[in-house]
Symmetry: C2
Subunit: 89 residues, 2 copies
DNA sequence: CTTGTAATTAGATGATTGCCTAAATATCTT
DNA sequence: AAGATATTTAGGCAATCATCTAATTACAAG
């Protein structure tokens, strides 16, 4: 889970996730939302991919990114485990 | 919220939160759980404090740390906002 | 008010991170 | 096959981070 939290530590990466929340997007669509070089965005996408927070799929000339919904479930559980102790069984 | 996510990015800090989940502890109690220098743990505690994830209170000679429960609520909401779109109202 | 214990702050160092430009790879179009 | 577009990979640089040792602050107890 280390890579997941590390991936979320960067604001650009969190904004990428927010973009993907509504609909899937190509790498270019994502990159054009940021004032940094495409290569840098590509790097961020690699980090998110390694953390399994997003999925990448080639679509012809493009690469389409989407949220990996299942990992968000696990992440939620992790955060719950960090938080204050719940009512005991 | 940047500082919150950054604070969670380090495994030692997440373990500190886990320790505080069950009960409050002094800085020394926390530090003795880790193989690193007390000064390093103190630094981690400062990061957690800056992120408002923990609260510190002096208790005589000691400083007692506890979880800041309210921030965990907000954090949960943040994670929810990053995740896949929920059914629209 | 001096000594001991708890904890933080200061300053330094090596590792990681985020960014860049340039080059490479993959696909589509002609 | 050659050219155009989409995206990633490579190599480098400055900033941030986790850690260390040493010095400092805060309180307690003689």
């Amino acid at each position: 889970m280390d890579s997941t939290f590390k991936a979320l530590a960067d604001p650009t990466r969190r904004r990428i996730l927010a973009l993907l929340r509504d609909r899937d997007r190509t790498a270019g669509e994502i990159a054009s939302e940021f004032p940094i070089a495409w290569a840098s965005v590509s790097h961020h996408l690699t980090v998110l991919k390694s953390a399994h927070l997003v999925l990448a799929e080639r679509d012809g000339q493009f690469i389409r990114y989407s949220l990996n919904t299942t990992v968000f479930q696990e992440l939620m559980q992790q955060i719950l485990d960090l938080g204050p102790t719940r009512k005991r069984k």
